[in-house]
Symmetry: C2
């Protein structure tokens, strides 16, 4: 066992610098009002001893932990099939690091996990939480709200959180969808189909709404329900081809499904984009650039989403932000259409 050499304490530093613990504490915490001479002496002692504050002791009195929980609720493997997750984490991590906060990762798969997570949050180990991939009717938000922990959601939740509303950050799914469909329209396509995502997620619903905004009154058979997986995309595409052989474009609610659609289209001898133009959503790089042809798709700035969520939460923790003073607490990030060969 690697013996942890007993780390120096405040006491030790104080002794070495010839001052009191209080003074060392002040210097270490960057508090003003310590004569420069002394401060300097303390800093040197800290340096020489390699002193690092004991976070547990500090938390015990300050009740702050400088740690934030990141909760990813993903029963399915979707998160694990795409780099999304990693991107968001990276954004969060950067921002957290910049503010000297730690990232405690909580991955949940089933209801049991929810209970565990609820307990953890109630246990006051972290100052706040960042939550992702919620599905409609997920019990987690309730648990969190009960724990009374400041929280920011990634993706618009399906409930408004009552009183002050919930804070969240989301991409402009609806607007992005509109752009995608309009692009198809601009290409002269008329029979535009849509493969939806899993409709128990608001992102899927919003994208569908965007599609409808532009295609109001379109043939309802042009909409097929998918589930965000490639297989689901294939199935939906088959159904679509079956019902409307004359379709000339399809907008899939994500790239994974668009890739599946591409395969089915090829299988049926339809050329892309000549016969059928295809647009995806997400701009999931390893997929979108790798398909044949490469995918035209709607890009969202995932990393920025993570950063923004974090900034919002941190501000709330500082007491600086408006945690929930009337009005919506949602922030919507813009999307951009990325043109490649498929449409």
């Amino acid at each position: 066992m690697t013996d942890t050499a007993p780390r120096p304490t405040l006491e030790a530093v104080a002794a070495r610098a010839g001052v009191s613990r209080a003074t060392v504490s002040r210097v270490v915490n960057g508090s003003h009002g310590v004569r420069e001479r002394l401060a300097e002496r303390v800093r040197r002692a800290v340096e020489e001893l390699g002193y690092v504050p004991n976070q547990a002791a500090r938390s015990l009195v300050t009740k702050r932990h400088d740690a934030v929980a990141v909760i990813v609720a993903e029963p399915e493997t979707r998160v694990f099939a795409d780099p999304f997750f990693a991107r968001q984490l990276r954004g969060i991590s950067k921002e957290l690091t910049a503010h000297d906060n730690q990232l405690v990762l909580l991955l949940t798969e089933d209801r049991d996990d929810h209970v565990r997570v609820g307990r953890y949050l109630a246990g006051g180990h972290v100052d706040g939480a960042l939550v992702f991939s919620l599905h409609i009717d997920d019990p987690l938000p309730q648990l969190i709200q009960r724990a009374g922990l400041p929280t920011v959601y990634g993706g618009r939740p399906d409930w408004n959180g009552g009183q002050g509303g919930v804070s969240y950050v989301d991409s402009d799914n609806r607007g992005g969808a509109r752009d995608a469909v309009r692009h198809l329209l601009g290409l002269g396509r008329a029979r535009i189909a849509h493969i939806t995502g899993a409709l128990d997620q608001t992102a899927a619903v919003d994208r569908l709404d965007g599609f409808r905004d532009v295609m109001a009154g379109a043939d309802p058979r042009l909409v097929a329900e998918g589930d965000f997986t490639p297989a689901g995309g294939e199935r939906a595409m088959r159904r679509l081809l079956d019902r409307c052989p004359d379709l000339d474009a399809v907008f899939a609610a994500n790239d994974l499904m668009a890739a599946g659609a591409l395969r089915v289209l090829r299988e049926h001898g339809r050329r892309v984009p000549d016969d059928v133009a295809v647009v995806g959503f997400d701009d999931m790089l390893p997929i979108a650039e790798q398909t044949d042809p490469p995918l035209t798709t709607v890009r969202q700035d995932i990393e920025e989403m993570g950063r923004l969520m974090t900034r919002l939460l941190l501000r709330e923790l500082d007491g600086t932000g408006t945690p929930s003073e009337g009005g919506s607490d949602g922030v919507i990030l813009p999307t951009t259409l990325v043109r490649r060969a498929s449409a």
Copy 2:
């Protein structure tokens, strides 16, 4: 601000149950030797008050944190382009959760981050560390070793850690590479090329060694250095085609590069697998299944790798394991060849 109702303390529970704090502590920590009658009373009080132990206070005295740092050293975006990372995390998370430990995630991108991480580890916030994606000459291991923290590496490090060696978990990169090449040989291919990974990572070196084990004395021009990225794969494939137009198979050190190679091959009018058979490595699902044709590749059980690392570390923390008693502390996980259409 959500007011955190002052959480009940041990003291409160003790009062309510009419016992001493020590007794409550014993019950809460599952220690034996408390008469069932009392224990029951304590449990009820805990329940009624919704008591949750204050981890900070506990850590302060036990010097345990029940938290493990997971460090991902990834200056490049590679990790973020594939689901690898998520898979490992999931394995780790599951195992950690099962043992009531928390996962503190530390993402690093540059040298500055290393310093920060070093300080964090030295700060004694976590009981151990799990480290990934090390590149040769990374300064991190030194910092960690200096912090004297029990650590398990993901992927064979390039140095042996001195005395007792380092504990690590890795896939059988060399064996997997051998299998891939033998498979190609079995297909009757003779001019087999290899696109290596970034040779500053042991995985790339080991895969190259595996290739050489089987193709000893092969034309050295059949080996082209890549870097694990699709673009690198394309470049390497072009070079290969240029130098050895007669090649009839290629083994790429990962699927991303294999996908790149596939594109170049198609571009040059070579049919896969008829003219050139292609094998990848990793079985990175969204890629391997999506390419045209789908990729034959070497699969590694990423999630299990994560679990195993965690188990190893936890055992070491329990004092149960042999942290470093002579001999190698590496565990190698088997790989399996997954046959698809490309070879």
